[in-house]
């Protein structure tokens, strides 16, 4: 079962296409990382999913309900943390937790106390007097403590120092082990989600360029480098991204790598030149895809 299903989602800010024809599926129980460069439409997509923005076209279903009809019943099962969220900063951490507890019947007091200890949140201090990292932790505390079925994190690592990021991620990881939650996290900080997510989607204004499990993604992407290439027919397949050639050396990212078959293709293309094939990290995949996307955009223009 899919927790989120979006079809042909489109949103315009006046003349600017923020999101166009987006299809998205987030399986239940997954940790889905929505990746994309700045301005790719990640936040807009999430706002549409959370009924904060009404799509200009297309539709989405969240927890089986149309996103435009999300109401109190659904938000009792959805935790939402965003860097842009206007938290009630005048509240103390204690008051903030009390506020959330009053709203959510499923609030888990033990989990709340555990997270507060883990995050080392000062209860009597107003949120506005906390650092950004601490504020985000407080928001995460309020979003996790009622054990939501769906946790949506919009750029949660933005502005956090490495230590805070690590603590935040660890807290998220530990919390996620305590329940069968689905997490949708949008970010461009790929390193942070690499150890967290099991599904990845890449977006850049248009349809999703990638949307699959991390395992599948990492298995089909390879960085390929060949040196002393005697001859090359200058035909670059679509699946070779970020292709570079200089002084008889060739390197690119192959997004359709199949063990055995791909090596044969490389040998054929590069005249039997020695080829080095190594797995790619999510970050490398992201950069390759982003560059390819931009190059494609320029060509189209």
């Amino acid at each position: 079962m899919n927790v989120i299903e979006a079809e042909n989602l489109t949103y315009h800010y006046r003349r600017t296409n923020a999101v166009r024809g987006l299809n998205l599926t987030v399986p239940e129980g997954s940790v889905f990382a929505l990746l994309g460069p700045n301005g790719a439409g990640k936040t807009t997509t999430i706002k549409m999913l959370m009924n904060l923005l009404r799509p200009d076209a297309g539709q989405a279903r969240v927890l089986g309900v149309s996103s435009t009809l999300l109401g109190p019943r659904e938000f009792e099962r959805i935790g939402y943390v965003s860097e842009n969220q206007d938290l009630p900063l005048w509240m103390t951490v204690d008051r903030f937790a009390d506020f959330g507890r009053a709203l959510h019947p499923t609030w888990d007091r033990d989990l709340e106390l555990k997270l507060r200890r883990q995050f080392d949140l000062p209860g009597r201090r107003p949120l506005e007097h906390l650092s950004r990292g601490m504020t985000m932790k407080a928001a995460l505390l309020a979003a996790l403590s009622f054990r939501p079925k769906l946790l949506v994190l919009d750029e949660p690592f933005s502005g956090l120092d490495p230590l805070a990021r690590d603590e935040f991620t660890r807290g998220l990881l530990e919390a996620s082990t305590e329940g069968d939650w689905t997490i949708l996290v949008s970010t461009h900080d790929i390193e942070e989600v690499e150890r967290l997510c099991d599904w990845v989607g890449m977006i850049e204004r248009g349809p999703m360029r990638i949307a699959e499990s991390t395992e599948s993604l990492l298995s089909r992407y390879r960085r390929v480098e060949a040196v002393n290439v005697p001859s090359f027919n200058n035909i670059v397949p679509d699946e070779w991204l970020d292709f570079e050639r200089a002084d008889g050396a060739v390197k690119f990212a192959d997004r359709r790598y199949v063990a055995g078959q791909s090596e044969t293709a490389y040998a054929s293309a590069f005249g039997g030149a020695p080829v080095q094939v190594r797995p790619m990290t999510l970050r490398e995949i992201f950069i390759a895809e982003a560059r390819s996307s931009r190059a494609l955009g320029k060509e189209v223009k």
């Binding site: 904060l52 923005l53 109190p72 019943r73 206007d86 005048w90 009053a102 709203l103």
Partner: protein, 553 residues
Amino acid sequence: MKRLLIVFLKDARRFRVLLGVWAGSMAVHYYLYIHLSPAEVAGGRGSWAVVLFFASGLAFWISLVLLAVLLVLEDHPGNSCAYWRTQPFKWQEVVTAKLGWCIVVTAIPAVAYTCSLIQFNLGVKALWLVFLSEWAVYALAPFCAAAAAVTAETLLRVANNLIIALLGMGVVGFAIVSLGNLAAANGGPFQDILHGRLVSQLWRDGTLLILPLLLSLAVVVAAYRWRARWAIAWGISACLIWILVASEWPRNAFPLSPKKAAAMAEHIQYSAQWSGQDAAGAPALHVTGVPDDPNYMLVPLALLAPQLNLPNGQHPEMKVRPYPDESGLSVAPASARAAVARVLGNLRALNPSDYPGFRIALPHSDPKVVRTAPFIAIEHAVLFQIHPVAELPLRPGVRARAGLQELKVLGVRRTGAHLDVQLWECRPTSVLVRAWGRSPADLIDFAADQPFPNTVRYSAGLNVTLEQVQRVCPDAVYALVNRGRSEILFPETCSVGANRTILSQYNAFDRTFTFPVEAIDQNWLDGATLVAVRRTWVETVDGAVSTVPVVSR
């Protein structure tokens, strides 16, 4: 309901400081409102209490407007980052909580004001209407400000600063009007309901008052329902601005020109006549000539009825008989009369055959009693000067004007042996009558004609001075009259009956009109009456038209 309460309490904590300022300033303002003499407030004597009165009033209104604006904008759904938008709330619950607060903070002062009427002005009919009208006055500025803020917040994305500035000016305009009303002790057109005057003009004004209020509410609700889609907000705001421009109410809130004031005074003229006895043999007061609304007389009659002392020395309740038909006149409930009698026990009618007017006597030297009675007077008591028609040398056609004086007493304050009586003649012209008696037991009498916007100060037996003249009526002369001796002092003409000639001294610089009555012997002054008469009447009628009895003991 639970979630509504959560938002409500959350906002209470969020704005606890502002709520504290609002509540504190309102408490101080109302306390001073009750205890300060309107004469002091109107006079602006500069005492710390008066300064505090206005400062607390200003703080009250500013905090009220700020509360409404901040409450509405706090979780405004036009902000897609608003926290509650991803919390289990319905928009209806949030907006209800917001409006609930707005209604609370505007209704409480209206309730306080209405309660003061229950306590001090028992003759007021339809308290719910009074409350509603007062609530509308209190709610108009903050709700409109909130609506303007919501609209401006929405328009920020699409409109230029000019529109926002216009909306801001509208808000400021409302604030000025509200403060103007406050300073003038005038709650706007609905204020007249307090006097039982419900005429069509007022309903029209009231409708124009309610309409922007409802539209403002619509803006706020629409903003929450449709997330402040700018077209809706702008459309409603444009309509609201149009109503403001079309409405005469903001203009009416400011002081009227003398010409218009005179026209208004004409409009509310009525007459009464003392008929001597009714069919059952009891004295009766007939009231006629209320042009638009027979209810106009309800309040004063109810107030005065138990206090009338009849010429023959009896003290029965005054019977109020409808005239010319059965509609429109009634008396206050028995409980109300009892309360009135307790407080205003010394307000009594003068013998109509001797004195045209009522007397307020200081019952005794207990300052508490003296302070209690004025509170009724402060609010909306209306005194009548009832002339035995047959005795008045009136021309046909002027009876309505001369036969009855209407004096709305705004405040009476005693300082030592002095008793200051401030009269509210008719909006917006006010009459301030200051009377001094030589001892607390002195009877203090006062009356005024409509064109009598002057301060009268007299010290019985010493002199009589018109001072602090706010507006010298060009066609009036002032005179001292001793009816018993058929003597009249006409200061301008220097002609006095019974072979007396006393020159008046009129100082145009400080607008003081002085009668040097030292030349008059004490016996003559006893029973003399201070008279304000129109020149035209004097020319054609040999006698006083309206009088202020001067009494010395």
